[in-house]
Structures are given as C-alpha cells and as structure tokens.
C-alpha cells in the first residue's frame, strides 16, 4: 500500500464539497431534532390521553426502527404519495425526525429534573401555565440538557454517511465516488476519517466543558 499526496490533492476539492453538505445535514438535522424533540416532550405532558397516546406510539415507532429503513421509506415511498423532495432535503428531515425521538427523552428528563417547588412557586404567584413553561421551567430544563443534546449532535455527525445511500454526496459519498472513478481508496477514505475526528473530538471536549459549566 502506498500513500500518494497527489491523490489527496486531487480529492480535496470534492472533499470540501462533501464537508459542506455534511455540515449542512448536521446543522439542519440538529435544528429539526431540537425543535421537534421539544414539541414531542411537551405534547407528552398534555393532560389529554388522546394527544399523549398517538405521540407516544409514533415516537416509539421511530426510535425503535433503524434510521436506514426510515430513510429508504422517505426516499422511495413518499414520492409515490406525491411528496417529491430532493435527496438532501429528504435525508435532513429523516435524520432530524429520527433524532427528535432521542432528544425528546433528553428534554423529558430535563423537565422532570426541575424541582416541583418551582411549579409550586409559579402557582403561588398565579403565573399562567404557558408563562410558567417559558419563563421558569424550560430555561432551567434546557440549561441542564444542553450537554446531552450536544452528545446527540456528535452522534448524528457519525450517522450522516447513511445519507450516501440515497445519493446525497456528503463526505463519504464524495470519497466513494472519487474512489470508484480513480481506483484510489486509501487516501479519500483516510481524509474523511481524519475529518470526522477533527470535528467530533473537539466537539466532545466542548460538550464536556458545557457539562461542567451548566449541570450543577
């Protein structure tokens, strides 16, 4: 096996394209999972069973089936129902939805960790329920869960190559395409492997630092 810096140089333009797509998936996927996860968590707190029950079933179903299956379902089945999104959009939505069922659990734990005395103080002050959520409970709950959410972002980063299977050219997709065209596998795969570490490791250090600061 030989290492050829010339191949690395040839691959780099494609690598940058792939990196941008990976980061786009990660940013938008995280955003969807953060927002949707919070929506799930709040819906699970509503007093009516008729909301909690379907939300519980749907999210359990999503959490307990493989992301790859969901991705294929979105990509191959939804167009039959008239929903034609680009591969990238489909992939971002699928990964965001899948991870929202994890972040939902993180939010739930964070909300439950807010002492009951906070609810009681809000009641004693006659604060409206909505205001109690937005001004008292969620700021405390979210502060606690930021590190856990960060861990899911790192986890999501490592799942982004799955989108290659629906033709999205993120980092692994670019590396594979380049490899097949040039019969050079070592350099592109090594480059993207290093890229994953270069992103993920500092990110995990950041999560640990946040943990120390935010979780008392």
């Amino acid at each position: 096996m030989t290492w050829d810096w010339g191949v690395v140089a040839d691959f780099m333009p494609k690598f940058w394209d792939g990196l941008l797509v990976t980061l786009e998936i990660l940013a938008l996927g995280s955003l969807i999972s953060f927002v949707l996860g919070l929506v799930w968590a709040l819906l699970m707190r509503t007093p009516t069973r008729f909301v909690r029950w379907p939300v519980g079933v749907i999210t359990e179903f999503i959490r307990n089936t493989p992301l790859l299956v969901q991705l294929f379902f979105f990509f191959y089945v939804l167009p039959e129902w008239g929903l034609t999104w680009s591969a990238l959009t489909t992939g971002i939505c699928a990964i965001g939805l899948h991870y929202s069922t994890y972040t939902m659990q993180v939010y739930r734990a964070g909300i439950e960790a807010v002492p009951v005395g906070q609810w009681e103080a809000a009641t004693a002050l006659n604060l409206p329920v909505r205001h109690t959520w937005t001004a008292v409970i969620l700021p405390q709950a979210i502060r606690r869960v930021v590190p856990a959410l960060g861990n899911y972002v790192i986890s999501m980063l490592k799942d982004t190559p799955i989108l290659m299977t629906i033709t999205v050219l993120e980092m692994l997709g670019q590396a594979r395409l380049f490899s097949q065209q040039n019969f050079q596998f070592t350099e592109p795969l090594t480059v993207i492997g290093v890229a994953f570490i270069v992103i993920a490791y500092p990110a995990s250090l950041l999560v640990r630092a946040l943990e120390r600061r935010l979780v008392r």
Binding site: P115, G117, Q118, E120, A121, T123, A124, L125, N126, L127, P128, H131, A135, V136, P139, Q140, R143
Partner: protein, 258 residues
C-alpha cells in the same frame, strides 16, 4: 370544633376572610385532615402548631391550591376556592401569597426579576413600576444591594427574605408562611423572623403561619391553633395556649418543643 374566635381576643378587624367547612384531605389511606372546620378573620395573624404530620402544612397547600381536598369547601373572601372553575380559582389565588420552606426562588432570574415577574405578567404592572416596587420591598427586607444578584449567590436567609418580598409584591390579602425558617442555618433565622415581625406589625395582611419557632408564634400571633391527627384540638390566644393549655396533647407537645 367551636368558632375559634370565641376566646378572650375579639376580632380587631373586619369579618371572616378564610373558611374551611368539613374539609377532608387524604393521601392514599392516610387521612391528613379530618372533616376540618375553621375560619380566620381578616387582618389576624394565626399560627398553626402541632406535631409533624398533623396536617398544618396541608392547610396552607390547600389554600394555595397546590392540592385539592377530597371533601368539603374552602372559601376565601366570600368566594369559593373548592370546588370552583379554573377561572375563579385564579381570581381567588390573587388574594393569597405563600412563602415556602425551601424558598423556591427562580434560579434562572435575577433577584429583581424574581420579584417583578408576577406583578408584570399577572397584574399587568409596567416594568418600571414593578421594578420600583421591588426595590422598595428589597429595601424593607434589608437586601437593597442584591437586585442584580442571582438567588444562588445569596445565603439561605437572604433567599428567604427575597421570597418574602416576592410574595408581598403581589399585594396579597393573605400571606401563608410554611415553616419558613426550617431550612435555614440557626444564625440566619433571626433575620427572617425580624422581617416577618415587621410585616406583622406594619401591615394589615392576614397571616397563616406554620412554624416550630414558638417564641415567634407567641410574638406575632393573635390566635394559635393546635393540630393533632388532622383536627384542631385547641385554639386561643397565644397567652392562653402557651401558658395554660387545656388539652393534654397540647401540653405534651409544648413541653416537648419549648
């Protein structure tokens, strides 16, 4: 039980403000309040004493609508609190403030915002007006310099004094004090009690107080209710209860705590 005001102290002020009729509260098979009747007149300072588990705190929690009774009715200023629709409960709740054993300040807000939050959102007070009032209240509790501090930066005694200011900011007619010094280090208790003595002396707010500080109870109370097993077993002026209790259980309890 007989009317609790049928003792040496005639009511100094107005009529009946709080009334419990036949109130029963159970937690599982444990009956905490047993067909309780009692009333408190406006402006009075009433202390609830008795062994732990006798239902004193439950009375405050019922009034604050933090829990619901199984049976009976609770009336505040002529308006029913239980049973009542949510809208009416919110109206009645405006008349009542509560200070908790564990302070329960909002740690994500500054001291000032802890106090202004409810007046602004519930009473519709302007931010400036609320802040001005909050500063006055902080001055009253001796913490004028702590406006911008976070609750976690304060001692327990300071946090509790902020909590008192926060409750008063809503201008309640009734102030419920639930073992407000029990979680404090001994050297911090006096500061909090001094503030409460001040409030008792200078305002006409009605106070319901659960406490183990018997000297404080003797100082501020117009009336003392002795609880045991979910019932009021004796009531009267502090002089009477502390000096010449009639009931054996009261005597026993007082000799244990005094």
């Amino acid at each position: 039980m007989k009317e609790p005001d049928a003792d040496a102290n005639p009511p100094v002020d107005g009529g009946e403000l709080i009334r419990f009729d036949n109130v029963t509260k159970r937690f599982g098979s444990n009956t905490v309040l047993d067909r309780l009747d009692f009333s408190v007149n406006s402006g009075k300072h009433v202390t609830l004493i008795g062994p732990s588990g006798s239902g004193k705190t439950t009375i405050l929690r019922l009034l604050m609508t933090l829990t619901k009774p199984e049976e009976g009715t609770i009336t505040v200023a002529g308006e029913q609190l239980f049973p009542a629709p949510e809208k009416q409960i919110r109206e009645v709740r405006k008349k009542i403030g509560m200070v908790f054993q564990q302070f329960n300040l909002f740690p994500n807000m500054s001291v000032l915002r802890n106090i202004t939050e409810a007046p602004v959102t519930v009473l519709g007070m302007s931010k400036d007006e609320a802040a001005e009032r909050a500063r006055d209240l902080l001055e009253m509790v001796g913490l004028a310099d702590k406006c911008d501090a976070r609750p976690m930066q304060l001692s327990g005694g300071q946090q509790q004094r902020v909590a008192i200011a926060r409750a008063l900011a809503m201008r309640p007619q009734v102030l419920l004090l639930d073992e407000v010094t029990s979680a404090l280090d001994p050297e911090l208790v006096a500061g909090v009690l001094d503030v409460l003595r001040d409030i008792a002396r200078t305002t006409d707010i009605t106070m319901l107080c659960v406490t183990h500080e018997m000297n404080f109870a003797r100082d501020i109370s117009d009336q003392v209710l002795m609880f045991d097993s979910g019932r009021v077993i004796e009531s009267g002026s502090p002089e009477k209860i502390f000096s010449e209790p009639e009931n054996d259980r009261t005597r026993e309890f007082l000799s244990a705590v005094l």
